[in-house]
Structures are given as C-alpha cells and as structure tokens.
C-alpha cells in the first residue's frame, strides 16, 4: 500500500467504514510508516475536537411553524360533518351519543368549538400509531423533547406513583395552533393532557364537561390553559387533575 492510498483510507478507518481485511492492510502500512502514523494521530485529534463542539444548527421555531402550517390538518372550525367523521373514527363511541353531538355543534361558541377540537384530537390520538411522538415514561426525556417545537413547553410531571403512568408526548393542533399533549395511562385508559399558553394569568378552577362520551376537565393556572381528556370516570379524572396540580405546586415551591 502506498502512502497516498493510506492517506485516503485512514479516514475510512477512523470512521469505522473499513472491513476487517482492509483495516488490517491500512494498519499494517501505518505501523511501518512514521508520517502516516503522524497523520492518523493528527486526524484523530481533529475528529476528537470536532466531536466536542456543537456544529449543528437548530431550526428556528418560526420555520417549524411555517412547515407545520403548510401540512394538511383538520379544519380550524370543524364543520358538523368533520366532527361526525372524527366521531365515526372512534371505536369506543356509541351511536347513541351522536344525537348529542349534533346538538352541541349547533350551539357552537368559542369554548365549545375548542372543546370539540380537544375531543377530536383525543379521538385521533387513539388511532394506531398516533398517540405519541416521543415515547418515554421518563419526564426528563419527554420534557426536553418539546423544547424548540413549541412557544411554551408543557410541564411534564411523572404521576406513576400516584397511579397515572406517563406514556409520552405529542404535538397536536387545537384552534389552528400547535400545542403540546402529554399522554398518561390509567389502567387501559388513555388520558391526554393538552397544554397551551394564554396571556391571561388568572387562575380558573377545574371544571368538567362531557362530550361524545368523553370527560374533559379544563382549568387555567400560571398562564397556561389545561384540558385533560379521557374516557375514565369524572371522579378519576378529577383525581388526576388534583394530583397533577398538587405535584406541580410542590415542584414550583420546592
């Protein structure tokens, strides 16, 4: 092997791209050639320094938002048809509730519209493969995942010890905006906790509403709006919200 060949192949050696046979040949040449030995050491040194430096760029949040906005998504103002379609997609929903949905859609105001979007998002999340973008029971994995994807990262709190298992997180779309959803499991039931920023920092006590057979408990605290949605009973959902708020309060004060 000539020095010229070795000077090229030693990079493949450094990158672990050589098969065993070629690696041995390169190593044999380098062992017998002081200048190639020096070159390998120098390149290894540069690789080490480069590996210690962050040379990557982070895409600006505005770019992410522009791309998100260009993707097809559910209508910001769901028509009656689209709510019913979302309804048809849910497997656990009885036809009996359908008549109730029509009534709800007809008296749509802002709160109701957002509630119906939250419930639709919950339904979509139950489709296979749609529940989580990041799967982890570790809050220290889920929380950083949101960073840079949203204007405000949702609080991610592990409530496994309190009987609500953290499953992961997801980006979702409510009111034509990307928002964070933190996913929990209670036995076989999924709880989606949607979190969005609000300019109003006033505290609003939790209140449960029911739509399409799902319970949705909504509250506001610390400049964030929360919606917890699940098919678990109203009492259990209230328990979830109480434990979430208690842990969050302890974290803030602790």
């Amino acid at each position: 092997m000539t020095c010229d060949e070795a000077r090229m192949l030693l990079h493949a050696l450094l990158d672990n791209e050589l098969d065993a046979g070629h690696a041995r040949e390169v190593e044999a040449h380098i062992a017998s050639c002081p200048s190639c030995t020096a070159e390998l050491a120098a390149q290894r040194e540069m690789k080490r320094v480069l590996a210690d430096t962050n040379l990557r760029y982070t895409a600006p949040a505005s770019l992410r938002a522009r791309i998100e906005a260009s993707l097809p998504r559910p209508q910001a103002q769901p028509s009656r048809r689209s709510v019913l379609r979302g309804f048809a997609m849910g497997s656990a929903v009885s036809a009996l509730a359908a008549s109730g949905v029509v009534a709800v859609v007809l008296r749509q105001d802002d709160q109701q519209r957002i509630l119906s979007e939250v419930v639709s998002a919950h339904l979509r999340s139950l489709q296979a493969g749609h529940l989580t973008d990041v799967i982890s029971t570790d809050q220290h994995t889920v929380k950083p995942w949101f960073n840079g994807k949203l204007d405000v990262a949702p609080p991610v709190i592990d409530l496994t010890a309190q009987g609500f298992t953290l499953v992961g997180g997801r980006l979702d779309y409510i009111d034509a905006r990307a928002i964070g959803a933190v996913v929990y499991r209670r036995r076989q039931h999924v709880i989606n906790l949607f979190v969005s920023q609000t300019s109003n920092s006033q505290y609003r006590a939790p209140k449960t509403e029911t739509m399409q057979g799902f319970n949705c408990r909504r509250w506001s605290n610390r400049g964030l709006n929360f919606w917890a949605v699940s098919d678990i009973g109203g009492d259990e959902l209230a328990e979830f919200v109480d434990k979430f708020e208690a842990t969050m309060k302890a974290n803030v004060e602790g």
Partner: protein
Amino acid sequence: MPVSDDFQKAQRFREAALPHLDDVYTLARYLLRDASDAEDAVQECYLRALKHFDSYRGPAMKPWLFAILRNVCNAEYARRAHRPSAIEDTPGAAEQTPIWQESEASPETEVMRSRDAGAIRKLVDALAEPFRETFVLREINNLSYREIADTVGAPVGTVMSRLARARAMLRAAWMAEEEHLR
C-alpha cells in the same frame, strides 16, 4: 374519504420527516451559508417531500430529505447567478491537488487547540464544494459513506476521497489560523 386520507398522510409525514428538521436545516445552513436562504430552502424541501411522500420507499428518511434539499439548493445556486457554481461532480482544482504535502508542518509536534463553535463553523464554511458538503454530511449530520453516496449520487470511493481532502484542507486552514493567533 380524500380529506381524511390527506390528513392521515400528513400525519405520517409529520411523524417521519419533522424529527429531522434540525438536521435538514443544519445542512441547508452549510450549503447556502445564509440563514434566511436556508429557511426558504428547508421549507421548499419539506413541501416537495410531502408531495412525493407517496412514492417514498426508503431507504432512510434523512438521506432522502437531504437529496431533496440538495436539489432545492442547486436551484438556489442557479438563482444566485453571480455566486460560485452549484455542487457539481466534475473535479475542480482542489480535487486534483494532493491530499497531503511533505512541506506541511510535522503534525506530531502540534496539538490542536479547542476553538469555539463559531470559529470552526467559519472554517467549514470556507471549504470549497463538493468537499464542504461531504464533510458536513459525514461529520455533522452523521451519515455513513453509503448514505452520503446515495444522497449526492456519487460512488463511495468518490465520497471517501472527497472526505479525505475536506479533512486535510480543514486541518491545514485550522493550523494556519492557530499559527496566526500564536
């Protein structure tokens, strides 16, 4: 239901392609060396990727997105008619110069000092194409030689020789700067 299909497709696309956004943006920054041009190119890349997502059959999402970005950037190079030419496969003068010259200062006596990221980015930006592209794909985007070859449409051997030259040029520029700083 076409509307629902569109949404399902968008959802699959979102899950497959959006996690690579920082990687795609990083490559765009190094290829175009301009933040706002890079943003436009990345957005265009994702639009095209979504359009062709139905025909996507692998191999891996990241090299596929990179190949699309590369096409977008080539169009951008053409638009900047007064700027240096597109990433091309014809060997330029740099590709014909030897990787290494005897006259170089003896490497074993020199230890590279750590530099801040901004200074190293400048050194990388100063590399000529196609060496800069190959270097970034390998060292910053962590593609394998095979994936780089697929992305840029060149044989693996070409990738290997470009990478060797890119690293030799980078190191020479780096050491020259250290010499200057000393």
